[in-house]
């Protein structure tokens, strides 16, 4: 049986561990034996986007070594999966032997919902969610990995769930890593628009595929006193969302 | 070192891969490949989309009467400035005694008037008219008048940009192209105030095509 290494990402590890456990449950449902190497740390995305290319390169090599024993690497985050899959190979010249391992890692790395549908062939999940749910397309998953239909296909199979069309679902929520603390006003305006769109759907909850966007959207909703819930798509699909 | 040599020298030093990336072939979208009646039909539709007026006539001799009729609807233009193209001079202007024609083409004469010119081609891809400068055609006629009538023969319609370039090159005489090749897509307009389209920015507020068989 193919072995899956789950990479839980920093935000999931520290802020939202439930997403990690939901991912394990889904991988098991899909028929895979999955484990999390205890020495996993960061993929280096903050360094890459902050201009520290050497730092990002180091962490890429480290991750490639750590996940070498697995057939697949699955990540419950479009932006971390995108970093590994689409950006890592650019860190090394084609001729660079060091890059070989990293290219191999990139080729076997998948965002969770696209792994479940495109690789594992999953068409439905065993889960229940009562009520209307909107889905927001987190940018990196959407544009770097073409994650669009995969989460929707699976969400539609959740019992009791009514999937709402979110207007401008593809427009950025304003998280952007360091962006949201460096440019709080601009980020605040972007998330304000996102909340207005979410509220307009009258869904009782919104789901998405990146924990960064979640923290941003749920934090802004809380500040506003809204009771709309924010879930990671894995939590909904694993039946952990209430 | 002078600027030219320095810039070109720098570009030559930076020329990488020996400039080997070739580009060959050409790409034409389906919208620019219509022929025959289909092409004419698409031209009509696209020209209307560009807010051009269009009169279909079967003979050249109908042109003066039709212009008189259209100007009559507008109501205020007793003089028509007619460009020097030979096919315009030979039209039966005597049939419309109520419409005075003028051959004056200087900037003050053309400012804000009604004018008629011929054209070099028209494109079914976009509905635009192609006007080229030469001894018989002042470029300003497409810009200074308020009402611009353009005589177009059906056989002048081409399917797309490729046809426009061919027509323009033919009119270029012994040079690469005529001085001016103006591809005019309907009346002048601007969206610069609150993104609302307003007709008649700097050029004509009306472009009317007289499409004649043949």
């Amino acid at each position: 049986m193919a072995k899956v290494g789950l990479f839980v990402t920093c935000i999931v590890n520290t802020m939202r561990p439930e997403i990690g456990f939901a991912s394990l449950k889904l991988l098991e449902q899909a028929g895979f034996e999955a484990e999390v190497p205890r020495d996993q740390t960061c993929c280096g995305q903050p360094n890459m986007n902050g201009g520290d290319k050497a730092g990002a390169k180091d962490l890429a090599l480290r991750l490639a070594k750590l996940y070498a024993p697995y057939d697949y690497v699955v990540v419950p985050s479009g932006s971390c999966a995108g970093t590994i899959r689409t950006h890592y190979p650019d860190f090394f010249d084609e001729s660079d032997a060091e890059g070989e391992r990293v290219r191999a890692l990139a080729a076997k790395t998948w965002e969770l919902t696209s792994f479940l549908t495109d690789v594992a062939g999953m068409k439905e999940v065993e889960a229940r969610f009562d009520g209307a749910l909107a889905y927001h397309d987190s940018c990196a998953g959407l544009r770097e990995l073409k994650v669009k239909q995969q989460p929707r296909t699976l969400l539609k199979s959740v019992e009791g769930l009514e999937l709402k069309d979110l207007p401008d679902a593809e427009v950025c929520c304003g998280f952007g890593g360091l962006f949201c603390v460096k440019y709080p006003d601009v980020s605040g305006e972007m998330v304000r628009k996102k909340l207005a769109d979410i509220e307009g759907t009258e869904a009782r909850a919104v789901a998405m595929g990146d924990a960064g966007c979640m923290l941003n959207i749920e934090g802004a909703l809380a500040r506003k006193g809204s009771d709309i819930k924010v879930w990671h798509v894995a939590e909904v699909l694993a039946g952990l969302a209430k | 070192m002078d600027a030219r040599d320095e810039i070109l020298g720098k570009l030559a030093r930076k020329k990488h891969g020996g400039g080997a990336t070739g580009i060959s072939g050409h790409m034409k979208p389906a919208v620019a490949m219509k022929t025959g009646e289909e092409m004419v039909a698409q031209f009509r539709e696209k020209a209307a989309k560009l807010s051009c007026g269009l009169s279909e006539l079967s003979r050249m001799s109908e042109v003066p009467g039709e212009i008189e009729r259209v100007l009559g609807e507008i109501g205020t233009m007793p003089v028509l400035h007619v460009s020097d193209e030979p096919e315009l001079a030979s039209l039966p202007w005597e049939d419309v005694p109520g419409l005075r024609t003028s051959r004056e083409m200087d900037r003050d004469a053309l400012d804000g008037v009604a004018a008629l010119s011929a054209c070099a081609a028209a494109s079914a891809e976009t509905g635009a008219l192609v006007l080229t400068s030469d001894a018989d055609h002042a470029t300003a006629i497409g810009y200074l008048p308020d009402f611009h009538f353009v005589l177009l023969r059906k056989s002048q319609i081409v399917s797309g940009f490729e046809g426009i370039w061919a027509a323009a090159r033919t009119n270029g005489g012994n040079r690469d192209l005529p001085r001016a090749v103006n591809i005019i897509g309907g009346p002048s307009r601007t969206g610069d105030i609150e993104a609302t389209m307003v007709m008649g920015a700097h050029g004509p507020r009306s472009v009317h095509i007289l499409l004649v068989d043949g």
């Binding site: 456990f21 934090g219 | 470029t139």
Partner: protein, 483 residues
């Protein structure tokens, strides 16, 4: 990119240091926010409808990228071919290494013909050069003729958007501006409606066109095989500028070359669709040389000023892809940062994603570091760019330059160093993440943190932070939890 003491180094003045401050003003400006809404929703929708009617659009974008790459690899050869054709057709070509040199050339050409007034059509390059103040110092009156550009010239502002320079203003603001400026032409009645405002500008500018000694235009494209310049407008002002005055000067960047007319057709298919979803712009014009002997009208001289101003430095660097840009504005209209704060906040002639890459190249990363940093890398710009410029990657490269040169703010630089160090030590990483969670839990009231200290305070300015429940994932996983 260029040694700092190079007298021909690129030049452009910016106020991008004040991005955050300007952005805040923009966000408080209700009128501006209304205008931005049109961009974000209207222009993006128009583009989508427009391109949906051309199934080959994606292939055309690939080809446009390839043609531009080919040109960039052979730029010197194509420029020489272009120059040779311009001269053969009776025109002249001038080369300028940077802004001062370009301004000096244009000033000299105007002085040679004793020019008193110049009429201009919209040209981003001349904005970049700050040509108008240069000519005005020489005692020449300069009139912008593109309506939007004319309005911001009267108001002494920088363009709001490369395609719609005045779209941040209301008709009331335009009305006030015209009322004040047009008194000198004896127009004492205040007009307020859009149609009337357009008419008034047309009447005032028509006289300027007729009187001007020199017409200055940009060029959207230069055609190497024919020595022609191509101009794309909706108003017709560029054509009047290129036809009525006795002298025509076209000012343009060296990267605007396309090899043949066939290639030009490709770009003319992409540009209006990407900008506004249109099949075509109102006026697509080619000008080749001055008036011929038998022509009834046209300028007696035809001069082309080819401006480098930093472009040759970008060639062969990690920013080369940017030189493919055809200034369609699609990346601005799609950008969630641009459509939140507008063009003025960028403090540069070039705003939005394309401006975030161009501006540091022309003004230096020290002055413009905010622009490539003020991006979430959402990728919408790259998705819509007709020549497939990887804009987020190019912004990322600027952040790398900034980091290499130690311009990155100290706190952030230190933070990234510490992060990389911790991420290399898994035991420490596990400990730090468990501790982090505990600290947040301690700071929270009813599960939510309302205020964070220091740098992280930017987060709680706008939103709360939900504290994590239970231990970190790795902590719980180690204890045997599996689902």
């Amino acid at each position: 990119m260029t040694p700092p003491n190079d007298q021909h180094a690129p030049e452009m003045h910016v106020t991008s240091e004040r991005f955050s401050e300007n952005a805040r003003h923009a966000l408080d400006d209700k009128v501006l926010q209304g205008g931005l809404f049109i961009f974000a929703k209207g222009f993006t929708a128009l583009r989508e409808i427009g391109i949906s009617q051309v199934p080959e659009f994606g292939d055309m974008r690939d080809r446009a990228r390839d043609v531009k790459n080919h040109v960039l690899e052979n730029l010197g050869d194509y420029l020489k071919q272009f120059e040779e054709r311009v001269i053969a057709n009776g025109g002249r070509v001038h080369w300028a290494r940077n802004a001062s040199e370009a301004n000096e050339i244009i000033g000299r050409l105007c002085a040679e013909v004793n020019a008193k007034t110049v009429v201009k059509s919209k040209s981003m390059v001349t904005e970049e050069l700050e040509l108008n103040p240069h000519l005005e110092k020489q005692g020449i009156e300069v009139f912008e003729s593109d309506l939007g550009e004319y309005i911001i010239q009267l108001r002494k502002e920088k363009p709001f958007h490369i395609v719609g320079p005045a779209l941040h203003l209301t008709k009331e603001q335009v009305s006030d501006t015209f009322y004040e400026a047009h008194q000198r032409y004896g127009r004492t009645e205040k007009v307020t409606e859009k149609e009337a405002l357009v008419r008034e500008a047309r009447i005032v500018l028509r006289e300027r066109f007729k009187q001007a000694d020199v017409g200055i235009t940009g060029a959207n494209f230069l055609v190497a095989e024919t020595g022609s310049i191509a101009l794309v407008t909706n108003e017709g002002n560029a054509d009047l500028s290129a036809t009525l005055p006795k002298h025509h000067i076209a000012v343009t960047g060296i990267e605007k070359i396309v090899p043949t007319l066939e290639d030009l057709g490709l770009f003319l298919r992409l540009l209006p669709r990407s900008a506004l979803g249109l099949d075509t712009a109102n006026y697509l014009s080619l000008y080749t040389g001055p008036k011929r002997d038998s022509d009834p009208d046209g300028p007696e001289t035809f001069d082309i000023v080819l401006v480098d101003n930093g472009r040759s430095d970008m060639l062969g660097s990690e920013f080369q892809d940017m030189l493919r840009c055809i200034r369609c504005g699609a990346c601005l209209n799609g950008c969630p940062v641009f459509t939140s704060v507008g063009g003025q906040a960028y403090g540069s002639v070039y705003s939005g994603p394309m401006g975030a890459v161009w501006t540091p190249a022309l003004a230096g990363i020290t002055h413009a570091a905010n622009l490539p940093n003020a991006s979430t890398f959402c990728g919408k710009c790259e998705e819509v760019c007709p020549v497939r410029i990887p804009l987020p990657n190019l912004m990322r490269h600027w952040r790398e330059r900034e980091f290499e040169k130690h311009y990155t703010p100290t706190g952030q630089r230190w933070g990234m160093g510490a992060w990389r160090w911790i991420a290399g030590k898994p035991a420490l990483y596990r400990l730090a993440s468990s501790m982090g969670g505990r600290v947040l839990r301690a700071m929270a009231r009813k599960g939510w943190v309302k205020k964070l200290p220091g740098f992280a305070g930017g987060w709680t300015e706008m939103r709360d932070l939900k504290a994590p429940e239970g231990g970190s994932f790795l902590e719980q996983y180690e204890k045997g939890r599996r689902s």
